[in-house]
Each structure stands twice: as C-alpha cells, then as structure tokens.
Amino acid sequence: MTALWDTSVASRVQPGSDALAYVLARLAAGEPVSVAAPAIVEIVFGLQRQADPRLTALSGWLAGLLDDGTLAVVPFGGRAGFIAGHVRAELPYAPPDRRDRRDRRSKTMRQAAWLLDIQIAATAFAAGLDVVTRNRGDFEVIAEVLRALYPAAPPLAVVDSPFAA
C-alpha cells in the first residue's frame, strides 16, 4: 500500500468490475487497497441522494466492503485537517481552467467536491502515501501547492488508475 484511491477511482469498485477484481487480488496478496475517508463521503452521498433503490443497494454492498476490510479506509485526521486548511487557504476555489466540461454539477456542488479533493490529497500527504486518481489535473494543482507550502517535504505523487475501465 503506497497510494490512496480518490473518489474517481474508488467509485469504479462495483460488482463484477475490473476494479473489484483488482481490489480482491490486492486483498489476497495481503495489501488491501486504501481509500481516503473523504472519498467515501463523496461516493455514498452520490448514491444516496437519488431515490433509486438500485443505488441504495449498491451503497449497502459498499458498506459490506468497508465492514469486512476489503477496502482499507484511511481516516481524515488532525494532521490531514491542518494540511487541508493550509491548502484551502491557497486554493479556496477549484481552478476554473481545470474544470471538466462534462461536469454538469452546480457551482456549489463543484465547490463541495473541490473541498473533498483537498481533503483527499491532505489525507494521502499526512499518511505518507501518494494519490491515485482519474482526475490528474486538479490533484496536480494541489500537489504543486503542497510542494510550495512545504518545500522540504517528500512530494505528493499523482498516480494513474491501475485498471483501464
């Protein structure tokens, strides 16, 4: 375990998916995949806010993976909170030129997601991990701010998803 999965990668863990096969292989090898606690917030929020029993069922299935330790959740602790506060002071709003044009969420929702991205990056940084994402742009911006804030620190590496789908 050297890297922490963000929302864009962890949300691919679905029944029958390549992501689930990867997660189970890592578990069998004794190195369960780590997911940032704020990513769980974002995933469950997305599944629960729709009045769709299939999404609710998926949320329950995900709870099982958390309950039996198939996914190892790294908590958002005090150190991560301190670091996230520093980063947010430097980058209060999502970089406009980095926003995905397919992202049809409201400005308020994008802002909430941006705050969670900062929390995910801070969780990885505080835990000594890298971050795995399908959203390199935003996390590279955060990594650059971390590098500027704490030049003596080993940098946060932004890593691509280990599976294609």
Partner: protein, 111 residues
C-alpha cells in the same frame, strides 16, 4: 512395486529452489504458519522450506514498504511543522478578530 512406479510416473517432479547464499538456522515455526506454508507448497509444487522462505520474503517486502511509508509520513509532517512554526509568536489577535477571520466574509469571496 508397480503402484509406486505408476505414482512416480504421474507426479510432476517437485521444483527445486535455486541455491541461495545465507546462514543456515533452526527455528520453531508456529503450526498456523506451517499450515500456510504447506498450502503454498502444494499450490506451487515446492518444498515446505521453500514455501517458508517465500512467505518470509513477502513479509519482509511488506515490512520494508511500511517502513518507507512511515518515514515519508514523518518527513512530511516535520516539513509541515517547520512551516507552521516559522513565524515567531508575538501578539495574538483578539477573540473577536479570530471569530471574524474564521466565520466572517472574505474580500476574495464571490458575491
């Protein structure tokens, strides 16, 4: 011994591990680990001894990775503390100023 000859003919030869340099040692292995080693040995067609070495090597790799992560975690936090304590404490703001800073509007906030 025709039965034994037949069994020998159908059983694939056990793979021999490459010779490795190292110290010879004797140790007491817990039964649970022996069971795991025997399972791995059967799966891979190797000896119990080789299976134990593989398990120990894998464990050492995981341990080394955990150590690297812990070192990076500590180095990062040391850098955060260095930054956070770089300003000498002088006069602190009033309680009202602190509340305004945390909960009040900021000039950069959008309307």
């Amino acid at each position: 011994m025709p039965q034994r000859a037949a069994a020998t003919a159908t059983t694939p030869p056990r793979k021999r591990a490459p010779r490795v340099e190292g110290e010879r040692t004797t140790l007491r292995v817990p039964n649970t680990l022996i069971a795991q080693a025997d399972l791995l040995a059967a799966e891979l067609g190797i000896s119990r001894n080789d299976a134990l070495i593989r398990l120990a090597t894998r464990g050492a790799e995981l341990q080394d990775r955990q150590r690297q992560i812990a070192e990076r975690r500590d180095a990062r936090w040391a850098a955060v503390m260095q930054h956070a304590t770089s300003v000498e404490p002088g006069e602190f703001p009033s309680a009202e100023e602190i509340e305004q800073a945390i909960f009040g509007p900021h000039e950069d906030d959008p309307e």
